[in-house]
């Protein structure tokens, strides 16, 4: 086993372990920090898949943006509440059964499908940034513009929803 494989299994185990901590830990802030570790490890897996631009985007947008938003949400809503997350036993059992069922079905599908794996895995050699830029300005121009409009709508909508009503 060489170093690359050892690192891959390291990130494999950390991803799964930290994701389990995200959904089981009792403290909301601890859950947010476990989520940060999970997102970092997914970015590391992107590097193993030769997706360097996507790995950088994952770190910048998820860890730098979404996680900070989540922590702001925790701070602004936990004034009177304690941060302990109570879970009811009946829901725990039912949710466990449903997610274990989904897990089993998906595992069966992955193991039984004959994947048409290419002989030469994707490797752009010089990095994917140039290819992604050309794709955005070429084949993916319409989705790119649609994404920019969606971001604008989300921005205005988020401001409008949280704004307190102005009494006349």
């Amino acid at each position: 086993m060489n170093w690359t494989q050892a690192l891959f299994w390291f990130f494999f185990l950390i991803t799964i372990g930290s994701a389990i901590c995200v959904v089981t830990v009792r403290n909301l802030v601890h859950a947010a920090f476990w989520l940060m570790i999970t997102l970092f490890c997914v970015a590391a897996l992107y590097v193993f898949l030769k997706a360097d631009f996507l790995a950088a985007t994952q770190v910048v947008v998820y860890v730098g943006g979404i996680l900070v938003l989540v922590l702001f949400g925790v701070m602004m809503t936990s004034g009177k509440l304690d941060m302990n997350l109570k879970m009811e036993r009946g829901q725990l059992v039912l949710g466990g059964i449903v997610s274990a069922g989904i897990f089993a079905i998906l595992l069966l599908v992955v193991n039984q499908t004959e994947w048409k794996i290419s002989q030469t895995p994707f490797d752009s050699g010089e990095g994917t940034t140039r290819l992604i830029g050309e794709a955005i300005m070429g084949d993916f121009l319409l989705p790119f513009e649609a994404a920019s409009i969606i971001l604008l709508i989300a921005l205005i909508g988020a401001v409008l929803i949280t704004r307190k009503e102005i009494k006349e």
Partner: protein, 100 residues
Amino acid sequence: MQLQHYLYISIVLFSLGVFAVLTRRNAISILMGVELILNSCNLNFVAFSHFITTDITGHMVALFGIVLAAAEAAVFLSIILSIYYEFQSINPSDTDTLKG
């Protein structure tokens, strides 16, 4: 480091996300579960792009997925904040005005 290994990680992330959405009693924890689900989908797209189609398409889909996840998180948190102003709670079971 075959395709299946990445799919295994993605399956685990997906079922843990579904578990969080179903069992957590706090809207922010539910948001974390949704983020886990979105991450598992993106990982799938990139793995398929690397091993099967061997081009950039899966990367583009994952990139737009990240953009939509950012927009979704912003709107989700603003809805949580206005629910908190209205009900002083972010437990989804407490928002039962329409329950009759």
